[in-house]
Symmetry: C2
Amino acid sequence: MKVLRVEVPRPAAAPSYDVVIGRGALARLGEFAAARAPAHRYAVIADSRVAELYGEAALASLAGEGLDALLLPFPAGEWNKTRETWADVLDGLLEAGLGRDAAVIGLGGGVTGDLAGFVAATFLRGVPVVQVPTTLLAMVDSSVGGKTGVDAPAAKNATGAFHHPAGVLVDPDVLVTLPPFQLRAGLAEPVKMAAMRDAEFFAWIAERADGLAAAAGADGVAAGADGVAAGATDELEALVGRSVAAKAAVVAADPLERDLRAVLNFGHTVGHALEALSGYSLVHGEAVAFGMRVEARLGELVGCTAAGTADAIGRVLDACGLPAEPDPDWTVERILAAARADKKSRRGAIRWALPARIGEAARDGAGAHTVELPTDELPALLGAALRTCAEVPDSPA
Amino acid sequence: MKVLRVEVPRPAAAPSYDVVIGRGALARLGEFAAARAPAHRYAVIADSRVAELYGEAALASLAGEGLDALLLPFPAGEWNKTRETWADVLDGLLEAGLGRDAAVIGLGGGVTGDLAGFVAATFLRGVPVVQVPTTLLAMVDSSVGGKTGVDAPAAKNATGAFHHPAGVLVDPDVLVTLPPFQLRAGLAEPVKMAAMRDAEFFAWIAERADGLAAAAGADGVAAGADGVAAGATDELEALVGRSVAAKAAVVAADPLERDLRAVLNFGHTVGHALEALSGYSLVHGEAVAFGMRVEARLGELVGCTAAGTADAIGRVLDACGLPAEPDPDWTVERILAAARADKKSRRGAIRWALPARIGEAARDGAGAHTVELPTDELPALLGAALRTCAEVPDSPA
């Protein structure tokens, strides 16, 4: 098992915690929960699909350690990430008689982790949460860092809290049941992390992107029990480890996103807007991948981003099999309206997280890790970025 | 101005903060907010009644410092302390275009402080909150300590978070508009604090209870502009100062209520149950006062509490003009059912915060500041306590 420590300094509320990564880890959930989040009772929160696939295994592992646990499923789907679902789950905990000495286990993808974390943050003013991510996206990104929440009608993730997990348990073996498009989408966040923070990691992904995407091309990585699938799982395990290490370093330096942590929003300003505009038919990773293509072009147009950066990012995303063609519905006006309603604006203006070059974030004049772009020119710039983002030359210029 | 520091050690999220108490302080809200919670924009959250009384004064003070603020009123009444109201207020902030660089100001009583605090805790994963309590109860107790939340259908305050304020501003002059029964109810929490933690403070309240209650007996403390009313305001200011100091010491020692802070739940196990059973016709302070009478009897019956303690507490509450007669609807069965659903149970059993004697909390065998009572005998014991709690001899035995 690989163990990565996430340091959470004040002013964040939580002590530091470990991310434990290892094949077959799900069978050791009971042991992990007992050690990291000792509690009188456990509520395993999972969507209906994951509950069916892994609910029994999770409960069996908890029971094996003599822990009292119940499974609380909620309807699967990003569109269920609402305050209504949150209230229902919370009422389920009350109905089951759980008290302050309970703990929550979030078993699932990004929606589940965000929802379970927010339930834990707000149930009787807060109980511990253990995150058990089952999608690549959740493993590499959302399970680490303490961001929790649900959507408000007017804005994504607008209702939430920082609530760091007591521990994160990652079992790459569960990726065998992940639909291929979800696995490919999960590659977007590591690309983002690498593009903003670590050129060497970016090169590592670039080398393997074809292989990872090909492994996902079938019915999940272990579609066959042959060497390729097994090899892919090992590579994915390595990818998760590197991504978590990169994210942990950022979170440790800025747990509440005062500045540096905002670099992780690269691709998310446009990405969140596209997710909303697509009615969530585009999943988060796909939207972020597209967002990075557009925002990197935008950065080059305004001179924040070194020439060639957008192409380099576009090539890796192409190799990952992530979408490049904009939808005619995604007009500049609609994207900007959605982006202005998003959390990333400050003093009414959008703050953009952009790469300066591969491996390094752009800074503004005051040294902040996000930049403001000229409001008047933004529609024209964004239009130009949208038009050209799909044009990626095959090899470096 | 009196300034009291509340130290909030790790693992709580917030830095320490000041409670500033002084007559006329409301006029200095702008200055206070700018210094303690610098923000791009401010949302003043107040119920419809308080918004009408003090909304303009608050906005004027904020505008006087050049701060951009808007008033977001919600319907007055304890029964509006719901997740629906919380969602409405949150959507109001989004609709007004507030971002992460906003701050919330909670202007009002306990419901408002809890609601505004929870909005601040969960708006875009958390923004600062300044508490400006306008009831005696909120001044002496709920504005300090970081407990925020709203009710769930099944249990009071079951949905919430710890979110410490950036500062608390107390203007005792606003008590002139407080209905007399609310002022009397506000005396319950200082009595509780003193009974559990500070015998000298208890004696101080006992000496003044008659006078404070008499001042409230008219139409608020400043019903007349005569010496008595003015004197009462000064005494109330002193009462607030002592109560906040006592509470701050407890919060500093145990910010997340792991143990010691639970002493502040004295009277609240029965009190919360009665609040619910009365359909909130009994206000919080009245319910807690009654709860203390019952729980102190209960403590004496099981031998946790020194003989005579319940009488001493009963005499002070009598002098404060707080109700002593149980309602026939308050059956043992209904109280216990409501108490079991409350947050204060652990491992399924209710944990009781009881005085050992005036000024000191009872401890269990393991040294914890709450005790468990024999489940089998609880109905009989509670029945006996309920029957005798109104029988308080006039002078010490």
